[in-house]
Amino acid sequence: MSAKPCSEIRPLLSEHLDGELAAGPAADVRTHLEECPACRARLELLRRTVGALRQIPDLPAPAAILAGVRERRRPAPWHQRLTGGRSWLLGVPVGALATVLVVIGVAFFQARFPELPGSVQAPAPPGVRVGTEQPAPPAPSLPSASSALPDHAPPPAAPAPVAASPEPAFRQRPGPTAVPVPMPFAQTEQKEAAEATPPPIPAETSGTAVVQDHASRNEEAPPSRFVIPEPVPEAERPVATSRRSGSDLGRAEVRPGVALAPVGALDALDARPPADADGAKALQPVAGGGAEAQRQPPRSALAKEDARGAAIPPSSSESRRRRDQDERAASLALVLPPQDDLENVKRLIRGEDGLILESREIDPKRATGARAREPQISLPEVTRAWELTVRIPRESVRTLIEALERRPGLTIVERPGIPAAPGPIPELLELRILVLK
C-alpha cells in the first residue's frame, strides 16, 4: 500500500482529475489508486460528478430580459423624482394629492368651459407614466393655468424643454383642449421618437430572444410604468439546450420548440431540418407516428405574449407528452445471445454519439408480454430485460442498427416505425431500446 493514507490522497483527487498535480503528488496519487479500490471509487464518483455538471444544459435567455431592462431604465415619475420615492417627505401621500387636484381641476375646467369639446378626460392613476398615449394628470398649478386661458384662445407657448434637462418641463399638449400639461418626460418622448426606427439588433445564434424583442418594439400600447416581467410558468419554460461542442450532446443540440421525432422518418424523408433556431420557425409540424403534427405553444401563453409579439416555447409537459407518443414509435427491441451483455450494447450506443439518459432493469415478463402476443415475433426464453432511453443523432441510428446486427447471435425483434406524416426531421431523436437476454 502507498505510504500516503487515503485522507491525504483524497483532497488531491480533483486536481489529479484535471492533470494539475505536480510530478511528486501525481505519482503518490497514482500509486495509491493502484492499491486502494475505495479511492478509485471516489475518483470515479468525482469524475462522474464533474461530467454531469458539464452536461447541465443552458437555458435560452428569456425574451423578458431585454423588455424588462428597457422598462426599468425609464426615468421615474416626476413626483417620485421630487421626493426620491419617499412620499412622506411631502407629508401626504403624493398620489392621493395628485388625484384630488386633478378632480378639482377637471370640475373647474368643465364648469368654466362647458362648450369646449373633448374636455380633459379622467386622469390617469398616480404612478402611471405620463406619455403621449395617456391623458396626463395636470400639474398642481393647473387651476391657475386654466383660469388664465381666454375662451378659444390659443394656449400660451410652453417653455421649450431641453432634451438633456432633468427638470420637469411644460409643453403644449396637442388637441383641442390646449391645456398645458406637465411633461417631465421630454427626454422620454424624444427617446420614444427615436425608437420609432429601432436600431438593428444582431441575431443571436441560439434562443429566440432577439426576434421576439424586436417584435415587441411594435406594440401599440405602452407598458405601464413599472412592468414586472411576467414570469414564464414552469410548464411553459423552454426545453434546455446544450452549450458544449464535443460532448455527447455537442452535435445534437435540442432547439426550443423542436420535437424529438421517431426514427422511421429516415427512410421517408430527404429534407434536412431547418437550420436556424428561431423560435417561431421551430414551431412546425413534426413527423410522428400518431403524434400531433404540430407543436403549438399553450393558448394562455400566446394570449399573454400577444402584446409583445413573442411566442412562448412549448411547455415541458407538452414536450414530455410528445416524447411519450414518439417513443411508442421510436422503439428498438433486441435479444442478446448468452455470450453478449448489456455493456456491449451501451458501448455501441455511445460509439455512435448516443447519450444514455436512463437505463433500468425491468421485469422480463412485462417486457415480453406485449410482444409475445404478436405472432410474427417469436422470442426465446427471456430471463432479463433492460429498458434504455437514448438520445442519438438522427444520422447515427442507421449505423447503430447496422452495428448491432453485426454482433454474432444478436437478434433485432423490433425496429423503429416510420411516422405517418412527413415533416422536418429534427437533429436529435429519442430512442427507447429494449434489451432482452
Partner: protein, 218 residues
C-alpha cells in the same frame, strides 16, 4: 483627449487582452442605446444561466438578470475598462444573486447545509461515515438521473463553491476571468473549485449510499 484615454482604457482588459465588447461599451457610454441593447443581447444568456444555476429559481434569476443589466447601464459612465465588460457584468450579477440568497436565508426560505458541518471537504473520514455506493448504483445511474441529482445538490452547496462551479463547469469560464469576477486570486479560484467538486461529489455519495449502513469503513 479624455475620450481617447477612455477609449484606450475600454479597449484593454485584464491580462492585456482586448475586450471584444470595447466598441459597444464606448458607444453605449456615449448614449447609443442600440449599442447597449446589443450588449444585453450578447451577454444575457450567460448572465441568466449563471443566475439561474446559482439561485435555482427561474423567476428570481430573471429578475436578478434584469437588475444586473440596469445596474450596468447606470454604471456605464464610470466604467473605464479596468476589467472586461462581461466580467464586470458577471460580478454584478453574482453580487445580486448572493444578496438575494442572503435574504432568503434570513427569511428561512430555503434550507442550506453548510459545508463546515457534517461533510468534510478535506477527504477525511466523516463523522457520519457511509459506505461508498456499490458499483451497480453508479452503473445504473445514467446521465439524466445524475444530472438531476447534481442540479439539486448544487443548490445546497456553499455559495462560494457554487459560484465557482457554475462559472467553471457550467459556463467554461477561464480561471483568470473567474478571479476577476469574484475579485479573488486565481489560486483561490482553483482551491474553491476543487473543494466544491469534492463537496458536491460527497453529497452525491451520501445520496447514493445504501440505506441503513452507517458503520465506519475499514
Amino acid at each position: 483627449m479624455a475620450d481617447e484615454a477612455g477609449a484606450a482604457a475600454a479597449g484593454t482588459a485584464a491580462a492585456g487582452t482586448v475586450d471584444p465588447d470595447a466598441d459597444l461599451v464606448r458607444r453605449a457610454r456615449d448614449g447609443d442605446e442600440g449599442a447597449y441593447e446589443q450588449l444585453v443581447v450578447r451577454h444575457q444568456r450567460r448572465a441568466f444561466n449563471v443566475a439561474y444555476r446559482f439561485l435555482g429559481d427561474y423567476d428570481e434569476a430573471l429578475d436578478a438578470t434584469q437588475e444586473a443589466f440596469v445596474q450596468v447601464y447606470r454604471g456605464l459612465g464610470s466604467f473605464r475598462g479596468e476589467a472586461r465588460f462581461g466580467n464586470w457584468l458577471m460580478a454584478i450579477t453574482l453580487n445580486l444573486c448572493r444578496n438575494r440568497f442572503k435574504l432568503w436565508k434570513r427569511r428561512a426560505r430555503s434550507r442550506h447545509d453548510s459545508l463546515s458541518d457534517p461533510v468534510g471537504d478535506d477527504g477525511s473520514d466523516l463523522r457520519r461515515e457511509l459506505p461508498d455506493p456499490g458499483p451497480s448504483a453508479l452503473e445504473n445511474l445514467e446521465s439524466r438521473q445524475l444530472e438531476e441529482f447534481v442540479r439539486e445538490e448544487l443548490r445546497h452547496l456553499d455559495e462560494e463553491y457554487r459560484a465557482v462551479l457554475v462559472l467553471r463547469e457550467l459556463q467554461d469560464v477561464a480561471y483568470e476571468d473567474i478571479a476577476e469576477m469574484l475579485q479573488v486570486p486565481v489560486g483561490t479560484v482553483k482551491s474553491r473549485l476543487h473543494r466544491g467538486r469534492a463537496a458536491l461529489s460527497e453529497r452525491l455519495r451520501r445520496r447514493l449510499a445504501p440505506p441503513g449502513d452507517g458503520g465506519a469503513r475499514a
